[in-house]
Symmetry: C2
Subunit: 441 residues, 2 copies
């Protein structure tokens, strides 16, 4: 055996602590008996794991938190909802921008940023939300986040205590319900009418936080009227409630000009404003933004600094250029035309083929609408039969906390071409005409 091999073996035994060596002292065997190694390996593999074995079992958080759906296999068929047309994403342009940005990357970019995110994207978002959405804030207040989920979770971590009341639209975004429930909030589900969320004036509850989607209520598609916005701000002021405005799908409006954000009306530092690039660009980008009222800012930034710190730099820098160079504006305009055509194709075909069986809500914005069924229709049976006809239907009940007045389904129109939408309408018409969908019959 070569001397070098022996030396390396000794080095390794010293490194692992089996031998001890000192300059001028020689090398000694240390006090680890092989049996100790065996003893540890014999620790019962079925030993109660730390999470479950303490008196009292799991923590309250672990008991409350529930898995919120991520992204499954992308179904590209009628009537998948809550997604953009991924095949229309400008991958070639994106690749050029990424390459161009990487060629100019600096050590400063590679190093990262503070807990608010990359300065270039924060500035671009700051300009965008002021110019396009009427948000009023300083640059300090703008954080780049991983999406509306992270925005909601960050704010909830800072303001919610278990037992606090959290108001939310019902039916509404499942993510808000999941985040609030995980934080131990008592949920105050509130219906939505043609003007937006109905304010719960009869309860004495003082919600700590209220989640609303004023631009385009999810999933009903209505926008909140100016009167309701003012009433909401006054109501929140009386009850000392923080408003979380999810500016959901505000980019895709097919009639009228986009409504300015509720945040711009607020003068009492009472509105958190959040938006996402998931629908406008692609969901796997996991980038969005959060505008934090100044009194919450330190705690929100501190919370981010001990969790993710910030999203990866490269994608932030590319989105910043996409916004600054006008690509974003052109992309939204192009996609809006595509989606408007798809929306019209769905509604025209639906009026012809589903009359009396499935009434489609007119919408002004967004990537999906709702179909309302006749009372007594077994919506779960309908969804199951639709799946067998290669159609995705999801019951509105999945987004509801209280029982719905009328059964309904989500109808997405953004992911497939007009001809495929029309073919889907025809296939679903046959499913609707088949006997046996009335509950109890």
């Amino acid at each position: 055996v070569a001397q070098g091999t022996v030396d390396r073996a000794y080095d390794q035994l010293v490194a692992e602590g089996y031998l001890s060596r000192g300059v001028g002292r020689g090398t000694f065997v240390r006090g680890v008996r092989p049996s100790t190694m065996r003893d540890v390996r014999r620790l019962p593999a079925t030993a109660p794991a730390a999470a479950a074995s303490r008196a009292g079992g799991q923590t309250p958080w672990a008991r409350r938190v529930q898995l919120l759906d991520g992204y499954g296999a992308p179904s590209v068929r009628a009537f998948v909802a809550n997604g953009p047309a991924l095949d229309q994403f400008p991958v070639g342009l994106w690749a050029r921008l990424v390459g161009r940005r990487l060629r100019r990357i600096t050590s400063r970019d590679l190093l990262g940023a503070g807990p608010a995110g990359a300065p270039a994207l924060r500035e671009a978002v700051w300009e965008y939300v002021q110019a396009e959405r009427g948000v009023r804030c300083t640059l300090d207040q703008v954080l780049i986040v991983a999406g509306v989920r992270e925005a909601l979770d960050l704010v909830s971590r800072v303001v919610l205590r278990p037992g606090d009341v959290a108001m939310l639209e019902d039916p509404g975004y499942r993510g808000a319900r999941a985040v609030f429930a995980a934080h131990g909030a008592r949920l105050l589900p509130t219906p939505v009418d043609a003007e937006g969320v109905v304010l719960p004036t009869r309860t004495r509850a003082r919600p700590r936080i209220a989640y609303v989607t004023p631009a385009h209520q999810f999933p009903q598609g209505v926008h909140m009227s100016a009167a309701r916005r003012l009433a909401l701000l006054a109501w929140a002021h009386q009850r000392d409630t923080l408003i979380f405005e999810d500016d959901y799908d505000s980019e895709y409006r097919y009639r009228g000009r986009p409504l300015p954000a509720l945040q711009g009306l607020d003068t009492a530092q009472r509105v958190c404003y959040a938006g996402s690039f998931s629908k406008v660009l692609y969901p796997g980008l996991r980038l969005g933004y959060l505008v934090v009222p100044p009194p919450l800012l330190d705690a929100v930034l501190a919370t981010r600094s001990i969790s993710t710190l910030h999203p990866p730099m490269l994608e932030q820098l590319v989105v910043a250029e996409f916004l600054a160079d006008g690509h974003f504006h052109r992309h939204v305009r192009r996609m809006r035309e595509i989606y408007a055509e798809r929306h019209d194709a769905l509604l025209d075909a639906a009026r012809r083929e589903w009359a009396g069986a499935l009434e489609v809500s007119p919408i002004e914005a967004g990537l999906q609408t709702l179909g309302w069924l006749r009372d007594g229709v077994d919506v779960d049976a309908l969804c199951a039969r639709a799946a067998r006809a290669d159609i995705t239907l999801e019951s509105l009940e999945q987004w509801a906390i209280r029982p719905l007045a009328r059964p309904g389904v989500q109808l997405g129109f953004a992911t497939i071409a007009p001809a495929d939408l029309r073919a889907g309408v025809t296939r679903l018409a046959r499913v609707l005409e088949a006997p046996g969908l009335r509950g109890g019959s």
Copy 2:
């Protein structure tokens, strides 16, 4: 005025809720008086913000959480610590890989993934930690995270209750202290000797979690001996403590083979294992990994699903290819040579020029070492004087909870070339020779 302009104005007034319109009913003014708008604008801008105005003030979380440092301006000078050589990052190769991966991007990739992260990177990390680090786990247990911070925060959210005891190495990683303190844990700082963390056997405290850096203790640089590893596992078993293993800088070892991870010795599902790409690739990448023991997995995944869901897809997919194609291995080998040369340059010059004033610890791994000062030296004054000589020195006290036995400073050697390190040693030698650094003298 053209008819179209009038129509659009009406549409907008309807959209904002000032007018009401029904088919066959005509258009009506609605009940929003301009004074209501003024009333809302008059809500006091100085109104106590929601976060601070409730009885009891802020939430316990908001009171506890403290800002943890992100990344400031990149100083590229002697003796910046905790960072890689950013100028050596292979930007050209990275740009080619990003471009290549984007050309093959699928709708599936654009859509995103579940809360564990991109499958391709999870698989690549799974192979890496098994082959290179001796980790024993199933693919299910592997999460891609934004770094060790997010890993620690995720695990803490699931297992820690306010008042629980959290053990941590002292001096040690500030991030662990910040995360545990934010979660309301009582800190149990524990010293480190030549074999790693000293187990607190005299206290009856049963820590809920213990943060350790067995591969390369931060900041002292020692690795945990095999004997200490076995003792730690047995100790954790007796006290029902979850171990969080931060496999910090395990890639950059200059002597001996890398030591396998502690996790691989654990048979009781008691070790969370985390690592980061921040130092090996670049900090702004914000990607790392977490191996979760099965009993904690559901709650950790659920927690991620209601927060960030997963890091952006593109960078995950590129890192997956970087690993799978062998670039990672080559990059680590190349950087290890560069860092070994810089390490030797620092130590050789330090022995010659700092003898008696600043004693440099020999290290086996990592990107920085420690310099020990004589008792009584005013370390803050030294750091301030060093800064005036264009040298970054950080007092070891910044990583310590209890008073240090001996004053010390961090000495990074990774970010600048050998000649610049030698010049820095000479400049600091002059600072050390100047009178007036002895405390109280």
